[in-house]
Symmetry: C2
Subunit: 342 residues, 2 copies
DNA sequence: CTGAAAGCGCTTACAG
DNA sequence: CTGAAAGCGCTTACAG
């Protein structure tokens, strides 16, 4: 309640209470064996002055700020920049935030610290969550070099990396989707992956090849930059549907590509799902609102974020838990764009 | 790349480059008139050692961390704790994060710092965004007392407060909804508000009374705790629909209440919208997926968050912009639960 | 053009 | 039971 502009510091409290800064610190943090009367007086004075310990000073001294960070990778996609439909990221972030708060941490949303223009605050956290790291991710390298605790999310279990991670079983996801499409009558399934060099794209492609070989299906893989969004999916779709060996089903890892493809199919006079079945590898608002609605894998971002936050917070304690941690089993939301034959 | 466990500090760089810490600091921050050769050498050594300035030390010294915070008020609602359908909060947070990053800030998601169990990191930010402050909000009091910059969001313009805010014209929103319902044939409109003492609830109720009086409509206001969610809306709906003066339309400020009410109506054999029209005062996933879909006000959380972040960042500069800032004009998403007569 | 010293606001061994 | 001193890693007047 002090009328001065300056914020009260531990020094002010010490002076007013007639004790040393050491005593104030101990009293307020409940450390040591202080005289009960002293403690009470210090607390009273602190309340009077509206004293709040400076989190930065404390953090500097203790090498612990009480903050974990979620790294936001560049969102170059024209579609995603508006955040409309970027379900996965928002849900992941929201759940990570709640989980962090429950553990007594705040969640810092930072840009990739390896970017030249990243503010220094992006390196202020006690630990980091890195979603879907790339092969040879330089951010992962930076964090390891610094000895900063971090948790990667979305790493394939069969490539179990030598760093803490919440894994994502992309191989079984892929089989789940392909089997579903085959059950619905598909015989020529095209896979459209993204171009980022992460396990999601790599393992999905590998699993697709294995599955198609085993089931004697033709192989057709298209890699399409994630950032092209709906427009990219639309263009790629037009090309794909003109080809002689037109597929009767497409598995698009990216939701926006799937929506663009569905649009292209309809423009070409094809009925979805009768002439072309479509499944997206991640869910988004656009999949739920498109006509017809688009089947998609539910990656359960909330569950995955909680596991990541819990693991990271655990790594910051004296008794670090073991890893990797298996992510939630993903489920297929069957919608109008693919239907089981009856 | 140092193999030691310790992170390189400015001292290490100074020693290795054979200059003082002062010089390293100036060289790395491009300050003063240093010899170009010195600067180059210092930068080289810094890169060699993988030196990254400690954000906390810098922040402590400069009283500026490069972080703005978004306060997360307690989410007591059973429904919202799962984050399913809490569109508003997630979209707001996502857009605020992107906007902050564009301005060179990171966004910290913190629990209410006035809560006893809030970690001290919740007070580490340079500025705060407080969404929908309560009347006599103690968090607002705390921030003002500390002299910490903050921006409130969702304050009625007619109550323009003596603090920076992005306002929300609840009065015209209310009229928009009531007129829409009247246009659709409603003659007895009940208003269901929340119980939080914020401008949203207060102004909506006041505007409703004014509008109904002016149009000679009966008045029926129910206040229902926001935290009761869909279940609370369902219970309140059952009671409301049993009454002699059953309404033919309900304006529910909370999306979850609206969904619960719609459910109750259908259980009672009422057709929505024929027997009972419903509009929600905020949009959420549940409004878009319910059968029938539920009309709702789109509060444009992304736009509102951007305005708030921009204003807050502006307040942290030497040339603070003026305020209050008018929030985005809200729009009504007309869906199945209310339809204009043809 | 460069450096020594002070200080941001805390906590933590260590004395007494 | 309490305090003086050192130090976390920076930046910033101020000398030289």
């Amino acid at each position: 309640m002090s009328a001065t502009g300056r914020r009260a510091t531990i020094k002010d409290v010490a002076a007013r209470a007639g004790v040393s800064r050491t005593t104030v610190s101990a009293a307020l943090n409940g450390k040591g064996n202080l005289n009960a009367g002293t403690v009470a007086r210090v607390r009273e004075v602190a309340a009077e002055l509206g004293y709040e310990p400076n989190a930065l000073a404390r953090g500097l001294r203790q090498s612990r700020l009480g903050v974990i960070a979620l790294v936001i990778r560049p969102l170059d996609d024209v579609d995603t920049r508006t955040l409309e439909g970027v379900d996965y990221f928002l849900r992941f972030a929201g759940a990570a935030a709640l989980s962090a708060l429950e553990h007594g941490y705040a969640l810092l949303l930072v840009s990739d610290p390896t970017r030249g223009d990243a503010p220094s605050s992006s390196l202020a956290a006690d630990g980091y969550i890195v979603d879907t790291p790339l092969d040879g991710d330089i951010l992962v390298d930076l964090l390891r070099r610094r000895g900063t605790p971090f948790v990667a999310v979305g790493v394939a279990p069969e490539r179990t990396p030598p760093f803490p991670a919440v894994t994502h079983d992309v191989a079984s996801d892929t089989e789940l989707v392909l089997s579903h499409l085959a059950d619905c009558g598909a015989r020529r399934i095209t896979l459209i992956t993204g171009t980022d060099r992460n396990d999601w794209n790599a393992v999905a492609a590998a699993s697709y090849r294995a599955w198609t070989k085993q089931h004697d299906f033709p192989v057709d893989v298209v890699a399409l930059n994630e950032a092209t969004g709906v427009i990219g999916g639309h263009e790629a779709g037009l090309t794909l549907l003109e080809s002689d060996a037109r597929p009767d089903a497409v598995y698009c890892l990216t939701a926006h590509h799937a929506a663009g493809l569905a649009q292209a199919a309809q423009e070409r006079g094809l009925n979805v799902p009768r002439d072309l079945q479509i499944v997206a590898g991640s869910d988004a608002e656009v999949c739920r609102t498109f006509n017809p609605t688009i089947s998609a894998l539910n990656l359960h971002p909330e569950a995955s974020a909680r596991l990541a936050a819990d693991l990271l917070v655990g790594l910051l304690t004296d008794h670090p838990p073991s890893w990797p941690v298996a992510g939630p089993p993903n489920t297929l939301e069957v919608r109008g764009s693919s239907r089981v034959r009856t």
